[in-house]
């Protein structure tokens, strides 16, 4: 078994295990989290084949947008009590953030190149149409919600 096959089988097994976790857990919030993890493993299988545009799209749109919105919806309908924030932790958090920000500002800057983004030109019209469709769906959703009285 070569490395690629081993990687694909491992990522596939992890994706299926995460999906089973999403199915078996009783909490909707954890179910959405497991679902997002499964999606990341699916994107990982694409990464094994070096399909970078597909990995970027799946990770940003499918995991980043769809997954996070699903987690937010699941958390909204799950939440029973609001969690109190302990102000005692504010100072340590600020100190850690300042250290991280300083380390990041001192880090070596890598120049940004457009290599690997050629697909944007080929699919520009399709992306514009699909974004227009999303805007239309969102406007329809807002109209329906207003009609219901939310």
């Amino acid at each position: 078994m070569d490395l690629q096959t081993l990687l694909i089988s491992t990522l596939g097994a992890l994706a299926v295990i995460s999906a089973i976790g999403a199915w078996l857990t009783r909490d909707n919030f954890y179910s959405a989290l497991y679902m997002s993890v499964a999606m990341i493993f699916v994107a990982g299988i694409y990464a094994v084949f070096n399909l970078q545009p597909a990995v970027v799209l799946i990770t940003l749109v499918f995991v980043g947008a769809v997954g996070i919105v699903t987690i937010a919806v699941a958390a909204t309908f799950r939440a029973k009590t609001a969690r109190k924030i302990n102000l005692f932790w504010t100072l340590p958090i600020l100190v850690v953030l300042a250290i991280v920000a300083y380390a990041y500002s001192e880090a070596r800057k890598i120049p940004i190149s457009s290599t690997g983004l050629e697909f944007v030109g080929d699919y520009f019209l399709l992306i514009v149409f699909l974004i227009s469709m999303m805007v239309l769906v969102m406007l329809s959703a807002i109209k329906i919600l207003r009609r219901v009285g939310l």
């Binding site: 999906a19 909707n28 499964a38 597909a54 919806v73 469709m133 959703a141 009285g149």
Partner: protein, 96 residues
Amino acid sequence: MIVAIAVALLIVAYLMAISAKDLIRLLISLELMFSAVFLAILPLFSISATMAFAILLVAIFTSSAELLVLITAIVITDKMRKGVEVEKVSVGGDIF
């Protein structure tokens, strides 16, 4: 092997949809079905990468649109029926 993983994901998603007690769980199972679809598209890249990428693009945006529609439906159901349980949805299937 990729198709086998996709089928396994799809079966888990179907089981999740069948055993769902609320609409949120149903939404999560549908997203899992879409991830199985993405895996099923992967072998198509070896035949025609351009066409496969276009199909992947359409599938991703379709899943996003489906999410928006379902979230709207869930919010409206919660508002009108005071809950998101599957039992409270009496339209779109056999109820007797």
